[in-house]
């Protein structure tokens, strides 16, 4: 007769672990007491009351209206927004450079491969802060002052800012949200319809073109019909400085280019690895079946490359978000340099570093969980399409 297996020994509670962790926490508490004592010795009581005080320093740029009379809390929000903008822009630039160089590094052309390898090796073996400082010195010393700014049509570049045309902000532009949402809905319906037709008949209907036209035409048509003001403002030189349009500081541009080049090199390696990982037999088999070169790339190579490349790309993007903090070295008002200034002014390093680290942690965890969820969604969908 078969016997049931002996019962597993009951899990003993982890007294040792609890003890060690408890000791460590007690040690941390002791350090915390020291902090309070040290702060009281200088006449400061720990707490977050200072966030409501007037900051009194200016920012190089800000997305929300900000003046030096605003509170510390508002400065922190402005810095966080600057970090997010910098991260998004560098992410885009790094992806473009990385994918391009990754593709060049697998072309048959020896010159192309050589240039790609040189680029990747150069930026993988130099510290990003050194790249940033070199670019900063070159731009600040090499570019002319505002008076003699370099101009390409409506674009002007001086050693302080890049001036470019922009659409003047107007509260009535909020009305454009309505046709925007409507056209997104319409585009979504069109995509579903195209997929249904393809599944039923195998016939392909244009998707990207129609969706883009729907969204663009919806906006512009509504703007023309409802007379929403869309005035393009062009920067013009008035006496001492440019007026009108939008301006981007040189600091932002330098950090953007540094992060784009630095992470571009890493992304190029990821892309290269992903492409080389697709067995040549797959491509040869597809060609033997008579598929056109473009079709081979689109339906055989690309899906496999994406599968391999996306997880390390997510990793790269999170690293990039963290690396935006090097902006403090050139004085772009991102979260880190704002909190550095606040620490110097108020001497509350503990409170400020807790806020800053929590914000960065939230940003990184949020971004990585969002991208991982997108990746899983993409994977499930492609699995469903295959079966």
């Amino acid at each position: 007769m078969q016997q049931s297996p002996p019962a597993l020994p009951a899990r003993r509670p982890d007294w040792l672990g609890a003890g060690i962790v408890g000791l460590a926490l007690a040690g941390l508490a002791l350090l915390g007491v020291n902090i309070i004592l040290n702060m009281q010795a200088t006449g400061v009581t720990p707490g977050y009351g200072f966030l409501a005080q007037t900051a009194g320093f200016d920012l190089s740029e800000s997305l929300i209206p900000y003046s030096s009379g605003d509170s510390y809390a508002r400065v922190i929000v402005a810095g966080l927004l600057n970090t997010v903008v910098l991260a998004l822009a560098s992410l885009l630039l790094a992806t473009i450079i990385g994918v391009l160089m990754g593709l060049v590094s697998v072309t048959p052309s020896p010159a192309g491969r050589w240039v790609a390898i040189l680029y990747v090796e150069l930026f993988r073996n130099l510290p990003k802060i050194l790249v940033l400082l070199v670019l900063y010195v070159i731009t600040v010393r090499g570019l002319p002052p505002v008076r003699q700014a370099l101009s390409w049509g409506p674009l002007h570049l001086s050693n302080r800012s890049l001036y470019l045309p922009a659409i003047e902000a107007d509260p009535r532009q909020l009305w454009l949200l309505a046709p925007f949402l409507l056209s997104i809905l319409a585009a979504w319906w069109w995509v579903r319809r195209a997929r249904r037709i393809q599944r039923a008949t195998g016939r392909e209907t244009p998707v990207v073109l129609v969706a883009a036209t729907l969204i663009l035409a919806g906006q512009l048509g509504f703007a023309a019909l409802a007379e929403v003001p869309l005035v393009v403002s062009v920067p013009t030189f008035v006496r001492f400085d440019f007026d009108g349009g939008a301006r981007v500081s040189v600091q932002f541009l330098v950090v953007l280019v540094t992060l784009g080049l630095y992470h571009g090199a890493q992304i190029a390696e990821v892309v290269r690895g992903g492409i080389l990982a697709v067995p040549t037999g797959q491509v040869e088999a597809a060609r033997a079946l008579g598929l056109a070169p473009w079709t081979v790339t689109r339906f055989v190579v690309l899906p496999q490359v994406l599968r391999i490349v996306i997880p390390p790309m997510i990793n790269q993007y999170v690293n990039l978000i963290k690396n935006t903090s090097i902006a403090i070295a050139v004085g772009y008002s991102d979260l880190m340099s704002v909190s550095g200034t606040i620490i110097n002014q108020t001497f509350r390093p503990l409170e400020m570093m807790l806020i800053t680290m929590a914000l960065y942690l939230g940003l990184c965890l949020g971004a990585s969980s969002l991208m991982n969820r997108l990746n899983i969604g993409l994977r499930n969908r492609s699995a469903r399409n295959v079966s």
Partner: protein, 361 residues
Amino acid sequence: MIPAAPPPPQRRDLLRQWAGTPLTALVSAVSAALAIWAIWIVLDWAVLSASPPQRPMHACAETAGACWRFYVEKSRFMLFGTYPYQDHWRPGLASMLLLALSGVVGLRITGRLDRITPRVLVALWIATIPAAFLLMGGGWAGLDRVDMSRWNGLPVLLILSVIAIALAFPLGVTLAVLRHQDRWPVLRRAAVVYIETMRGVPMVTVLFVGVFVLPLTLPPGTRISPVMATLVALILFHASYFAEDVRGGLQSLPEAQTEAAKALGLTWSQTMGLVLLPQALSRSLPALVNSVIGAYKDTSLVVVLGIHDLTSTARMAFSEPGWGQYALEAYAFVGIWFLLSCAFLSWIGRELHKGQSARSH
């Protein structure tokens, strides 16, 4: 008999490589133009329109290219900063010691210098780290005391990279083991929280905590120099990255290893120390080398805290009034240093990959 020589590569093949399709031809043309342009710029700057080192400094004012005399005048300042001039041999010797030891460890990892056992290496580390500090600090055997605020340049870079990495490694292995085991769940959870927090924040924030918050946590009246505070912060930060690399090695081991060790009657610590960790460490070496390269390069971020490592002394060298136009010369010095040292580290990484793929085939 002499075998027939292989036929030379066909000209048509060469043409196909360079310009098989219009796109390939375009890539070739653009890349070649880019490469020639970059080579020309570097050559022109460094040689053709440069001012050679024997010409005096004021001759540089008229040249558009590099001023080689700058290196004659400023190399020692960039290497050792404001350390007392007559005692420059001390930071020099300390740097040599740290570099030599790192080189030996690197060669040992790639399978050379087999005669040096790991035990000897650990002993060398334990001897060298205090030796570097004693040599730099002085105050014994007739050496003058030199305050840490005057430690500058290369030795600071090496202390903050080599010593930080060496001390972060054991902490990282401990964290990896704690996160991998399931005997003490509370400890595992604590390790997870620590590692994920450290990996979720930028290094600059950890450095700020080290320099601004750490001194506050000491009992009133005690002081810690910024270099030491940064060193502590870097050790705590790098350890979390090393921990993830080693954990990757531990996870890649088959479960049978643990079971076999248990069946032989080994205790938990014997299983970990004699069976699992040695294999996990050798498997995680390539990832560790990558992390070490990253940690070494990122050390130069201490510039933002006003700590004078090599990048920072280079900046000081051209910040004095009248030297401002030699910024590129100063940064080129730092760049060449990093390119050379990282090339050595990458070479170790490639050797490891070669060794691993040779073993697995």
